[in-house]
């Protein structure tokens, strides 16, 4: 990998690139899907992608290819350097200063070489166990969209014309189950999952299946409610989507373009004092961890929101320079160049149990699923379809569907008046149960 990348950078230099960086990912992916006990689809793949970013003075361009033949790699350089001559110079464009790059590549235990040894039959058995457990939850679980077990193994390598080189391997494993409950002509689907870097850390297939089954079952009998303005509780999965939206607004590209509702809010109160949001890329074995960012800068821990105050944006070198700030080491690569991505992002746990949060609501909505794309990142205006449970006198009363929840993200974060103690890092973005004092629920 090192030879390929340094050869590419050398060719870019010969073609008059003033600076360049290159990125290579090689991956293998396989999955098995079973449905109602029968094998449906088994897939296996091997892929690679090589990307180059070249600078001609202060102008830059990118090119990538999945073909690593000599001829193709040479064409990649010619295309990136050729395109860079057609783009406009940008005074702040360029690689980070060489001194900023990570001096070591820490081992974050992101690989599980032994975990990949399962035979197809063993993977099928895991998916079957999970689906069977879901179907056995209740006679009303009558159908299934299936269960899937998947694994992915990848190696990332990154090099710059300044001499940085780093590479690291990763593994990931996952299991999802999507059962369907039905009664009186009504059908409801829900799902549950487990997703880890170490196979031994996956939740037991039976537990994943049982939770998925219960989630589908509790939706039976769902109805609309009358339009109202009430307290709304977001379960950990849907609360995580609010945190994801907040991080999106805190990301550099949206800020320098002026397309974010967090523009000019650094250092100000943007959320209730109970809200602290952290991005930590150094957690061993965690799904979002990485030893260096997409520009070779060391990964660390960033406090985005500290007790309600916006303390940091999420920046790569370019967006940082545009805003007059230093990179927060959140650069991420894809074939198209450099963007910004979070690592392990979470809203810190509070002290109230989720039961007590529900118990605190006289009349309101407990949200368990959100659908649609109704977030305006420029204004923070928020309006999404919701599924959940109606809360009456502190208790879950009946399932709800075909309603929307609406507000404005800035106002919603400021109106958080309850933070659960149930934070679990199940995915790259996580949150505990959250209570928002008032939102508009639209129904009939």
């Amino acid at each position: 990998m090192r030879e390929l990348l340094t050869g590419l950078l050398e060719r870019a230099r010969q073609r008059a690139a003033t600076e360049a960086d290159a990125y290579l990912v090689e991956e293998q992916h396989s999955s098995v899907q079973v449905r109602l006990g029968k094998v449906e689809t088994v897939t296996h793949s091997r892929e690679q992608r090589l990307a180059l970013r070249g600078f001609a003075g202060k102008a830059s361009a990118s090119a990538s290819t999945s073909d690593l033949s000599r001829e193709s790699v040479e064409r990649l350089v010619d295309e990136a350097v050729g395109l860079a001559r057609l783009t406009a110079p940008d005074p702040v464009a360029g690689l980070p200063d060489p001194g900023e790059c990570a001096s070591t590549v820490p081992d974050l235990a992101l690989e599980d070489p032994g975990g990949h040894g399962l035979t197809p039959e063993e993977k099928i058995a895991i998916a079957r166990q999970a689906e069977t457990a879901a179907l056995e939850v209740d006679p009303r679980i009558t159908n299934s969209e299936g269960a899937e077990f998947f694994e992915r193994r990848a190696r990332y390598a990154y090099a710059t014309s300044h001499g940085f080189f780093g590479s690291y391997p990763t593994s990931s494993f996952g299991l999802t189950v999507s059962p369907v409950a039905s009664a009186n002509g009504e059908m409801q689907r829900d799902s549950w999952y487990t997703f880890t870097r170490k196979r031994a850390r996956l939740d037991a297939p039976e537990d994943v299946g049982r939770i998925a089954g219960r989630r589908a079952l509790r939706r039976l009998g769902a109805r609309q409610v009358k339009t109202c303005e009430v307290p709304v509780i977001f379960d950990p999965e849907t609360a995580a989507s609010l945190v994801r939206a907040l991080a999106g607004a805190a990301s550099g590209p949206g800020l320098y373009r002026g397309t974010s509702f967090l523009l000019d809010r650094l250092g100000t109160r943007i959320a209730a004092p109970a809200v602290t949001v952290v991005d930590n890329g150094t957690l061993p074995e965690a799904l979002g961890s990485r030893p260096f960012d997409g520009e070779g800068l060391a990964i660390g821990k960033t406090v985005l929101v500290n007790a309600g105050t916006l303390e940091s944006y999420l920046l790569d070198t370019y967006s940082g320079r545009k805003l007059g700030l230093a990179s927060t080491h959140h650069a991420a690569r894809d074939g198209g160049g450099v963007g910004v991505a979070t690592t392990n992002l979470y809203l810190a746990a509070g002290e109230t149990s989720p039961q007590d949060l529900i118990g605190s609501v006289k009349s309101g909505l407990y949200v368990t699923e959100l659908i649609g794309f109704g977030i305006n990142m420029v204004t923070g205006d928020y309006s999404r379809g919701a599924v959940g449970q109606w809360i009456e006198n502190g208790e879950v009363a009946y399932p709800v569907e075909e309603v929307t929840v609406a507000g404005n993200l800035l106002q919603m974060f400021q109106a958080i008046d309850g933070v659960g103690n149930d934070l679990v890092l199940r995915d790259r973005t996580s949150a505990p149960t959250l209570r928002i004092a008032r939102m508009v629920v639209a129904g009939n």
Partner: protein, 496 residues
């Protein structure tokens, strides 16, 4: 309908640019994949042991140009190539893919796909050649990826100038142009091969406007399987920029959207996303074979008002959702989904058609060689009715008129769907009054079209911007709608 559609399809392919044999020659010249080699690969590895098998070769070039802050500072070009091998027995699919297009890798992929699928023993039935010939819907003299980059850069600059010049409140203009060419070759075990060369391009304009400390966004764009010059013809680029500016300025004075169940009038074109979410996905064959769709087993039943006829048509020249053949080699068709309110048919790929005892409909699509195909939409729209669009708005005492949407999603199983309005107005006493802020609309797929009480005569298809996601695979699609009135849909605003 014809009157409206003509202006949308100015580029009839000329006979001398048609070249159906090109994909075959391309993969032969570049990778040495002759048809006899492909036949041997599929034959020796797969025939006789599985019911159906195919090989999908793909070569794709993508180019992206992005203008922000008045300059084109980002440009990128990507090449992807690879092959997917599929073997099927009963409900079982084995799929293996590789980005190494060599005989050795393909043999290995075929071996893996077969091993996966052949565990279910069954009588071998090899796929038969479809009887429909591929269409010729988008042969271009100069494809969008081949067009000169400096002309594209110049167009993006003109868009920036036009948008900024339109109003002093415009603060930021982000314009992007993506161009793509996909060359595919599909070979099946019965020895026939079919290929396609698919150009695709899209221009997007986003504008941020600011007034008195309030900032708002407007977006517009379009494209299709058309050459780069499409954007210059009829000054489309100027209209896209102007519409984005208009939308951002309108939203600067938008009031809170109402919350609750309202009469909603949908404008023509892109609001056809209603059909895509409310009924389209629910009529895809896989969900119905598995009986997890709210529409499962309901063919022949009324699912919409008698005013409603919905078709999915992959044969419209130069449209974003059109295909000469689908990604299994089946020629696309014009498939009636709902006829005068009655459910008529599903959209099928080969697997689900075979398992349901139906015919493939040319809807087997995949994002790339990295994925097995599944039933997907092409261009989905409602046929025109007889009402005057102005009359439809005049007929509403209080409601919402929505003309632009930012996206939608559906839960196939309970049928609930959402789509989010990004440009909408209040209707008061039959007149459009204040623009309202964005709001999500939610409804029930099998119910919402029963409430369609007026259908306009102004059918139009969208400008060519739609991308549909399903199970992690994205494919370009089109939608279309005449102006319609829906008597009751939940609007997710904040004004109680």
């Amino acid at each position: 309908m014809n009157g409206n559609m003509k202006s949308l399809f100015p580029m009839k392919p000329s006979p001398e640019t048609q070249d159906i044999a090109r994909p075959q020659r391309f993969f032969e010249d570049r990778f040495g994949m002759t048809s006899s080699l492909l036949e041997r690969l599929l034959g020796s590895a797969l025939v006789g042991r599985v019911e159906d098998a195919d090989l999908y070769l793909e070569y794709r070039v993508d180019e992206e140009l992005l203008l922000e802050e008045g300059a084109v500072k980002k440009a990128s070009r990507h090449v992807s190539q690879g092959a997917g091998v599929r073997a099927q027995s009963g409900e079982r699919t084995g799929y293996a893919h590789t980005d190494d297009v060599t005989l050795g890798s393909l043999e290995e992929a075929a071996r893996q796909a077969r091993a996966i699928a052949e565990r279910a023993a069954s009588d071998a039935v090899v796929a038969v050649k479809p009887d429909r010939r591929p269409h010729d819907l988008y042969s271009l003299a100069v494809t969008p990826v081949a067009a000169d980059v400096s002309g594209k850069v110049a167009l993006l600059r003109r868009i920036d100038e036009a948008a900024r010049g339109a109003d002093p409140r415009v603060r930021q203009v982000i314009a992007s142009l993506s161009s793509e060419e996909q060359i595919i070759l599909i070979a099946t075990a019965s020895g026939w091969t079919v290929g396609d060369v698919r150009p695709l391009t899209r221009l997007s304009v986003t504008v941020i406007a600011e007034q008195d400390g309030r900032r708002e966004v407007g977006s517009y764009g379009g494209g299709g399987r058309v050459p780069f010059d499409f954007f210059l013809e009829e000054e489309r680029w100027k209209r896209f920029a102007g519409t984005a500016v208009k939308q951002a300025l309108l939203k600067l004075r938008a009031v809170e959207a109402p919350a609750g169940t309202l009469t909603v009038v949908l404008g023509p074109g892109w609001p056809g996303i209603l059909l895509h979410e409310a009924v389209g996905h629910g009529l895809e064959g896989d969900f119905n074979r598995k009986k997890v769709s709210a529409f499962a087993g309901r063919i022949g039943e009324p699912v919409a008002s008698p005013l409603v006829t919905v078709v999915d048509d992959g044969t419209l020249p130069n449209r974003r959702g059109s295909l000469n053949v689908d990604d299994e080699g089946t020629a696309t068709g014009r498939n009636v989904l709902i006829e005068n309110g009655v459910l008529r048919g599903y959209m099928q790929d080969r697997l689900n058609a075979r398992l349901m005892g139906m015919a493939p409909t040319g809807n087997g699509r995949r994002e790339s060689y990295a994925y097995p195909p599944m039933p997907r939409m092409t261009n989905t729209f409602m046929l025109a009715g007889e009402d005057d669009p102005e009359d439809i708005i005049r007929s509403v005492p209080y409601g919402l008129y929505a003309v632009a949407f930012s996206g939608g999603q559906v839960d196939i199983t309970n049928g609930k769907f959402v789509f989010s309005a990004s440009e909408a107005y209040l209707i008061e006493d039959g007149k459009l009054t204040a623009p309202v802020k964005g709001a999500t609309l939610i409804g029930s797929g099998p119910e919402v079209l029963k409430r369609v009480s007026r259908v306009g005569r102004d059918l139009s298809l969208d400008e060519g911007v739609g991308t549909c996601g399903k199970d992690g695979q994205s494919v370009p699609v089109g939608v279309g709608l005449p102006t319609i009135r829906v008597d009751g849909i939940t609007v997710g605003g904040t004004q109680v």
